[in-house]
Each structure stands twice: as structure tokens, then as C-alpha cells.
Symmetry: C2
Subunit: 386 residues, 2 copies
């Protein structure tokens, strides 16, 4: 197995772009990544695209060659990967695997979602398709409802408070306000977060991530070849993808996601890195409680202590383990299929020291965690600065 490097990153802004189509967003991100890597599109040997629900949002399926040919890829395998909100995390996992195990020497992984469309009024229903429609969906339990149950149970078991969840939102908005590519660039106060419109008790609108359009892309090569292209690469120390039951009622506990624990464990083991060595992380805060759970399941703190960890400032820029310096899904935005590769771009920016106002001081090793549904898929990636 070879070590792999990210030699180029590219993102669009995340936001609501009614005039953009899904293909132009993806092509923009891919072009940016190729340019960043100083690589021509014709050099790519395979294209890995993450997309959750293009057919439902914009009526276009078969997106991999549809986008790939427009990006300049001809004749190569162009494949769409779907694992709910972890779709492009999964695309990245398979892209990494193909280089690590010697199938290809240069590949592109990308993710895209166009959520503002004529189907936006159906967005909650479309997103619910990432859960169990024969049970949860039939009962009307959409994702805010599922994560509200998780939050309520976490409050019951560990004494987590609404203030602690709101602290996650306040932090992520503060970070996103400084990110030029973020969807919602505004700071909020704890009082505002607590007084947000209720969505599903105990979650308010400030506990929920955004409905966004956007795309992200990366270029991968063997680590040993990275210096040929750029000095600004990042080493992929590990990627792990895991799975679990889709329906919450099939899980032994709803306050711990076995898929996240297992992906973290595998990634730490493969990278031979301990959680304490991680300098910064992008965690999948589809809801504030999800960031709290992930910070526990990835061992940045003990189980049940994720709320205090955020409230005490340990996860802020300048804290012990800065989380979601990009603004996270909460403020940066959550174009579902773009999120996984977008997180990797955000981590690489930090590792390169390119995060501007949001730059963390120690930035040698970063982690990205991409979650699908209510924990049925998880992809954890560990990256190291060149």
C-alpha cells in the first residue's frame, strides 16, 4: 500500500445560487482543484463524484459522466457514489483506495449538490430518504426529528444542556463569518441561538445546518509523486469508511454512533496517530448535537462530555482542539453531496496555513468526519501537512 497525497483543492462558495446549475458548480470546483494542482484534466485516470440526490433536486441522474465530460475527462471511469450526506466522503475513500493500492497515479474526487431548485419545497422529504422511509419516514420522523430524539436522550443520559448545544452554533457561526466561501456569514449570540425558532424540540433553527448549493474537489496522487506537482500538498495518513443500521430504532443506543467510533478507530490505527495528536477537525455538524456526539465518539473528550467541551471553548479557534474552523455545516453550509470533500478541502487549507483569520496555530495534523444519515455511514480522514 502506498501513501497518498492531496495535491490540489477546489471549492465553490456554498450558498443559494438560483442561477447556477449543478454541472457548472461541479465543473468550477474541479477546475479550481486541477489549477491548484497544476494538473490538466486529461491527466486524470478516474473520476469519483459524490452526490446525494441530484435526480430528486434537479431531475438529472447519471451525473458522473455528465459532469466529468464537461470537466474535461474523456474515456476514463466516471462514477457517482451515494451514501447520503457521506456521499463525497465515500467518493474520496474509493479515490484514495485506488491510488493507495496502485490502480491509478492521478485521480479526481469531487462532490456536488444543488438543493435550491424547483424541488426545494420537498427538501425535507428528499433528505428523509437518507433515513428509513419504511419506518421513520412513514411515521413522519424527518431528520430534525431524529436528531431531536438523539439530543433529548443525550440530555437525559449526560446532562447535556441547550446552552451547550447553542455554544456549538455560536462557535461555528463565529468561524463561518470569517470564511469568504461560507453560506451564512453572520455571528450569533448565545441568547439568539437559544431564542431561535423551534424546529423539533429541543432543536431550534440555530441547531440545524443549512440548505445549500455548492461543490468541492480534490486531486490525489501517490505521496512519492506529490512534489513533482506542488510543494503545497497534504499527506493522506488514513481514510476509513464504515456502516451501521439506517433506522435509529435498530441501534443499541442513540447517543453513540458505532459507525463513527469504528471509522475513527480504524483511521487512528492506520495512521498510527492518537486522538490527542489531532490539531484540528472538521466534524459533521448537520445538527449541533451531531458535533457533540462526534467529538465524543472520536475521543476528543470522554463520552458525555462533548457539550462541556464546546461550552468551555476547547473546540474554538485557540482552544485545545479547534472544531469546524470553516464554520461547519451550520454556517458554511451543507450542500449534502459536497460536504465530505469540502471538509477535506477545509482541513488542507488549515494544514497549508491558508485559513487567514481562521488559521489555527498548530496545524500539522487534521481530521475530517463525514456522516451519512443518522449514523448509517461514516468516513473519517486524517491528513498531515507536507
Amino acid at each position: 500500500m502506498r501513501s497518498v497525497a492531496v495535491i490540489g483543492i477546489g471549492k465553490t462558495a456554498f450558498g443559494a445560487f438560483p442561477d447556477r446549475d449543478i454541472r457548472s458548480l461541479a465543473v468550477e470546483a474541479i477546475s479550481n482543484a486541477l489549477k491548484d494542482a497544476s494538473v490538466e484534466a486529461s491527466a486524470a485516470e478516474a473520476f469519483y463524484l459524490g452526490n446525494f440526490a441530484g435526480p430528486s433536486f434537479v431531475g438529472q441522474n447519471h451525473l458522473a459522466p455528465y459532469i466529468g465530460t464537461a470537466a474535461g475527462f474523456h474515456g476514463i471511469p466516471c462514477t457517482r457514489f451515494e451514501d447520503a450526506c457521506a456521499s463525497s466522503g465515500s467518493a474520496f475513500f474509493h479515490a484514495w483506495q485506488s491510488v493507495a493500492f496502485g490502480m491509478y497515479d492521478i485521480v479526481v474526487a469531487a462532490g456536488v449538490e444543488k438543493m435550491t431548485s424547483q424541488s426545494t419545497p420537498r427538501v425535507t422529504e428528499i433528505l428523509a430518504g437518507a433515513g428509513d422511509m419504511s419506518g421513520e419516514g412513514l411515521a413522519g420522523a424527518t431528520f430534525p426529528a431524529l436528531f431531536a430524539m438523539i439530543a433529548r436522550r443525550h440530555m437525559h443520559e449526560y446532562g447535556t444542556t441547550r446552552e451547550q448545544m447553542a455554544a456549538v452554533a455560536v462557535k461555528n457561526h463565529a468561524n463561518g463569518a470569517k470564511n469568504p466561501l461560507a453560506h451564512m456569514r453572520k455571528t450569533i449570540t448565545l441568547e439568539q441561538a437559544l431564542a431561535g425558532k423551534p424546529v423539533a424540540e429541543p432543536l431550534t433553527v440555530y441547531d440545524c445546518s443549512l440548505i445549500s448549493d455548492g461543490a468541492a474537489a480534490v486531486v490525489l496522487v501517490p505521496l512519492g509523486q506529490a512534489a513533482r506537482y506542488t510543494s503545497r500538498f497534504a499527506a493522506v495518513r488514513a481514510v476509513a469508511q464504515t456502516s451501521d443500521y439506517v433506522a435509529l430504532d435498530q441501534k443499541a443506543s442513540i447517543t453513540v454512533f458505532p459507525s463513527v467510533k469504528a471509522a475513527g478507530h480504524k483511521a487512528y490505527e492506520l495512521a498510527a496517530i492518537s486522538p490527542g495528536e489531532i490539531d484540528l477537525a472538521e466534524l459533521h455538524d448537520c445538527f449541533t448535537i451531531a458535533e457533540i456526539l462526534a467529538s465524543e465518539d472520536l475521543c476528543f473528550t470522554t463520552k458525555g462530555n462533548g457539550g462541556p467541551l464546546a461550552a468551555e471553548g476547547a473546540t474554538s479557534i485557540g482552544g485545545r482542539i479547534p472544531i469546524n474552523t470553516s464554520g461547519g455545516l451550520k454556517s458554511k453550509g451543507h450542500p449534502v453531496g459536497a460536504t465530505g470533500v469540502g471538509q477535506i478541502c477545509d482541513v488542507v487549507m488549515q494544514l497549508r496555513g491558508d485559513a487567514g483569520e481562521r488559521q489555527v496555530e498548530k496545524h500539522r495534523i487534521g481530521l475530517a468526519q463525514n456522516l451519512g444519515g443518522s449514523g448509517a455511514t461514516c468516513v473519517v480522514t486524517i491528513l498531515e501537512a507536507a
Copy 2:
């Protein structure tokens, strides 16, 4: 790179099963494949699922862990692959790659589609999503219309006749009538085929494949380990996946698919096998003209001679190169996401000598060709008897 073997195959019947849900179909096929391989579900290290449009047909997305956990896979990567009608061909390609390049020692690839649902009235629109919705779709050019243009042009350029296309339908119905798992088990005459209800000139209903439910699955291990499990394995000599433009108007010619030519060329080269050495093939006859094109692009005959090849009986059981002994998409059925892996199961049955009344005499080497859209994706697999 290691050689890989298919050690287990499993299919459901293809047909219209209003009482079955998508998960139960997929689980049935996977269970059959695992049983055929004498392998427990817990032994699988990764799960590769092909599905085209589950979210559109049945409202369920995130299908890989949804189906995978029900099939007994826990904690492993469970990923859905989408490449239109080549979705499970692509899943198989990536599954093969992961074993060939040493990532895993045992994996399961499957495909499923549930097309008879409350969304069936929208089936033509849903299928159109595999084409370019911003152009072809907007103009009302659904797949029968696209392949009708291809047929008309092939008739113009090469003198192909409606009788020759009808001969493909007659042959595939004759084969499918003998296949216990086929959707439409009835023979038709040339006169019936020619007198079929028009769908899109010059295609009649007998030139078009079926709207089916169904699933198929295979188990893959390194060839060197296959004998530990079974003596009834087949060697995967090559798999190649390629891409091309989605929209017909972007192609230089519409009577040749560069993706098919390239996938065939790559597969023949990797296998070090010439087209003349193929004993039987399952080709993607979504329309009769598609089988004719594929028989040319894969070099079973010269360009323009695919019509006569079928009409002269060379592609019938007992002919020089039997094509679609399963009945093909035309008679066996075309549950879109299941078709690619289903073809591989059908080829392996022939290689094992298990095809009953449809068994061909020479059955050492078989080929499967899975097409996505109007040629934007192609996966070609070459298999050899143990």
C-alpha cells in the same frame, strides 16, 4: 495485481412484483450468492451496490447500508454506485478492483431496481434522467426516441433493416422463454415483432426492453483462494469501465459508441483475449439496435454488419457467437440497477454449464457488456470457466 474469481452468484426472478420491496429483493439475491459461495455474510469486507433510481421509484435513498445491514453486513464499507443502466456494472468494476489490487479478500457486489411502484407512471421521465435533461429531456427526447434516432441513422448508413432488428427480438424472446427467471417468457414470431405497436419510429414495443423489478449479486475473492470455497468458480479475466458524453448531440457519430469500443479494447487487452475467442456474450439490449451496435463495437462482426449477424442466426444458441442466451434485457427484463451484475451471473451460469435448455456447447470464455444511458458509461467484463 491479482487475478479475481466469482465464487458465488445469486439472482431473484426478474418481473413485476408489486408485493415485494426493494430491500427484500436485494437481500434475496445476496443471500443466494452467499449460499452459492458457501460464505457467511460476516466474512464480507465491503459491499458494492448498484442502483439507478431507488429514490425516484420508491423514495428510499442511502440504499447501501439500508440493504447491507439487512443482508448481514456490519461495520464494513457499504456504498451505492450509480452510472445509469450501468450502475451495477460499475459496482462490479470497483469490487473487482478492490480485490485485484489487494485491498480486500472477499467482497459482495450486487444490483437492484424496483421499477413497479407508485412512481411507475413516471418511469419514462425517471429513465430520461440518464440522458441530458437540460437538452434531450427538455426537448422531450426520452430513451426510445434517442435509440430510434440511432436506429434510423444505422439503417441509413449501413442498410440495416427493421427485419434485422426484429430478428434480435425474436432470438431474445426464444431464449428468455427457456429461462425460469425471465420476466417475459414467451416466444414471438418475426411477423409479430414487425407488427408490434409503434413506440418511436422505427422501434416497436418489441424493440424495447422491459420495466422490471429484480436483483442480482456475486461474491468475489482472489482467484488463488477460490478453490477453498468452491470448485464452481469463474475467473474474472478483465473488467473495464469507460465514459463518454451523455448527450447524443455531443458525439461525433451516433452509430458507434466510443465508450463501448474503448471498454472492449481495454478488456480484450487486459485479458489477452481476442473477440474471436469469446464463446458467448450478454450484451446490453435495452433496444434491439443497441445489441446490434454492441456486437459491432465489440468486434464480433465488422461495423455495419450487426443486423445481418443476428438475422443469419450467428448470435443464436448454436450460432458462432451466441448473444443474450438469458433472453437479454428484452425478454429476461431490465431492472436497471440489477442488469450489470445480472449479466455476469448469466455468463457464469453458462461457464459452469448450468444453463439448462439454453446451454451453449462451447462455454469456456464469456463476455458481459453493460451500457449506461445512450453510451455515456460502459462496463465490459470477460470471464473464464474454472
